[in-house]
């Protein structure tokens, strides 16, 4: 039915099967939309946020997806600026993942601000002394960059590409993509950093407060560093999941191993810096504010020292050691384990820097303030996950995301596009178009 839209030379499920598989995901999406509408219509009383938790589950989700979406800017930097040409075979997917992450972050912020109709105030009435203003500027602009990077992929859809103007437009955008990628790397450096800076400048919250360089606390640099290290790990993790679901190899091992090696060394150097930062904070910074290390990890029902071990050792040291060794990243199982652990590690880091910061008592009469999200918060946090799955599925089906797919999964040549409906038999389970595909203007 939709064979004409499917990239040439690849196999896809019949449309009915594709729609059926997405059914449960669409149900989650609808659940999230209902919760979102409740938050917009009835207000933020639908959440469990309170005077302790002005930042809650949504801001953790925001920081986590922004860190995990860092694979787009870092892979773009490696490909377009540093010249790692091999990464052209995974850059499309990295951009897609980044686009999903950043559009999700903006969606969550649109719910979190309570009155999205006033969202433009942050631009028009900007508080130029706030790191969050810088985050809002860079986030919005970088989403523009990701849209520009994703757009040529849409324009290269088999049918759209036949229109000469659209073909020329996508070709021209590829030609100057390095300019957009450089702008994206610049914007990412600052907004990833400023998100860390927001926590680091909280001098009234010794759990988060850090010293630093000029106006930037060390968390500024650690956040950017961790995003550059763990973003590519998230891209590899989603690639592995996509390959598992589709039952196909989509990117060659040498490309994945190269990205994993670079991410591994970034993670290794990051985790050394993180350990030094944690030691200095525990030994010097926090005591100077009147706190001992274990006061941040005791006398409560949730935040034990395990969270620090999970973040630094399990989610940092172990994946870094796996990824920097050729043997570790060559084994598919240990590679997958490492990227999953790295994703958990950076997510736990963001959780600690957003939610544990709020939970730790700072006054002598204070107690630990634990927080449980409402179902509306959970549903709206799962909403971007469902949206992301749908967008990846649609892009995989209709767009030339994978430059190496035809080579890795050759399809028997036929006279023309053959759909399951038109020619049941050998291709009965999948829609196929075996016409040779014209080479993209630039991968």
């Amino acid at each position: 039915m939709d064979t004409a839209l499917i990239p040439e030379g690849v196999k896809r499920d019949p449309l009915w099967k594709f729609v059926l598989k997405l059914g449960p995901v669409v149900a989650v999406l609808i659940w999230g939309v209902v919760a979102m509408l409740l938050c917009w219509i009835k207000g933020l009383n639908q959440t469990n946020m309170n005077d302790y938790y002005g930042f809650a589950l949504w801001i953790w989700a925001d920081l986590a997806v922004i860190a995990l979406g860092g694979g787009a800017f870092f892979t773009g930097l490696l490909k377009y600026i540093i010249g790692k040409e091999e990464l052209k075979n995974i850059i499309n997917f990295a951009v897609l993942v980044g686009f999903i992450c950043y559009s999700s972050a903006l969606l969550i912020l649109a719910i979190d601000i309570g009155q999205p109709l006033r969202g433009w105030f942050i631009f028009w009435h900007a508080n130029v002394h706030s790191m969050l203003t810088e985050v809002a500027f860079c986030l919005s602009c970088y989403f523009g960059v990701l849209t520009i990077e994703y757009l040529p992929l849409i324009l290269e859809n088999r049918q759209l590409d036949r229109v000469p103007f659209i073909h020329n437009l996508s070709h021209n955008m590829h030609e100057i993509m390095a300019v957009f990628a450089a702008t994206g790397a610049f914007l990412s450096f600052f907004h990833q950093g400023s998100l860390g800076g927001v926590a680091g400048v909280l001098f009234g919250r010794p759990f988060a407060f850090r010293e630093g360089l000029f106006i930037w606390p060390w968390t500024f640099f650690l956040f950017t560093w961790s995003a550059a290290a763990c973003g590519p790990c998230f891209t590899i993790m989603l690639l592995k999941i996509t390959e598992k679901i589709t039952g196909k190899k989509l990117v060659k091992d040498d490309v994945v191993r190269l990205l994993a090696k670079i991410a591994g060394w970034m993670l290794f150097t990051y985790i050394i810096a993180k350990i030094i930062d944690t030691w200095y904070w525990a030994a010097v910074t926090a005591p100077s504010k009147g706190f001992g290390l274990m006061e941040f990890y005791s006398n409560n029902g949730f935040y034990g020292i395990w969270i620090l071990i999970l973040e630094v050792v399990v989610g940092g040291v172990i994946p870094a050691l796996i990824l920097i060794t050729a043997k570790g990243r060559s084994n598919p199982k240990t590679l997958t384990l490492a990227v999953v652990l790295a994703v958990i590690g950076v997510s736990v880091n963001r959780w600690a820097m957003v939610l544990q910061v709020m939970a730790v008592p700072v006054m002598s009469f204070d107690q630990w303030a634990l927080y449980y999200p409402s179902w509306q918060e959970v549903a709206t946090t799962l909403l971007p996950v469902a949206y992301g799955i749908i967008l990846i599925a649609l892009s995989h089906r209709y767009l030339p995301v994978w430059p190496q797919e035809r080579e890795l999964n050759p399809v028997e040549a036929t006279a023309g596009p053959v759909s399951a409906e038109a020619a049941p038999g050998a291709e009965s389970e999948e829609e196929t178009s075996a016409e040779p595909e014209p080479a993209p203007a630039q991968a």
Partner: protein, 54 residues
Amino acid sequence: MFPFNFEWIWDMSHVVFMGGLWFALTILGLGMTYCVIKAVIDTAKGKGAHHEEH
């Protein structure tokens, strides 16, 4: 946002913050304008027309 807004002050913070924003937006805007204009010219010259024949 703009120097003609009532809350605008000519200080370093405004110049750095808003200058950075407009700098980034200008690069993106000029880049896309270049792509669109070049695509119009290329199309007028008949480039990419062979793709209709697939």
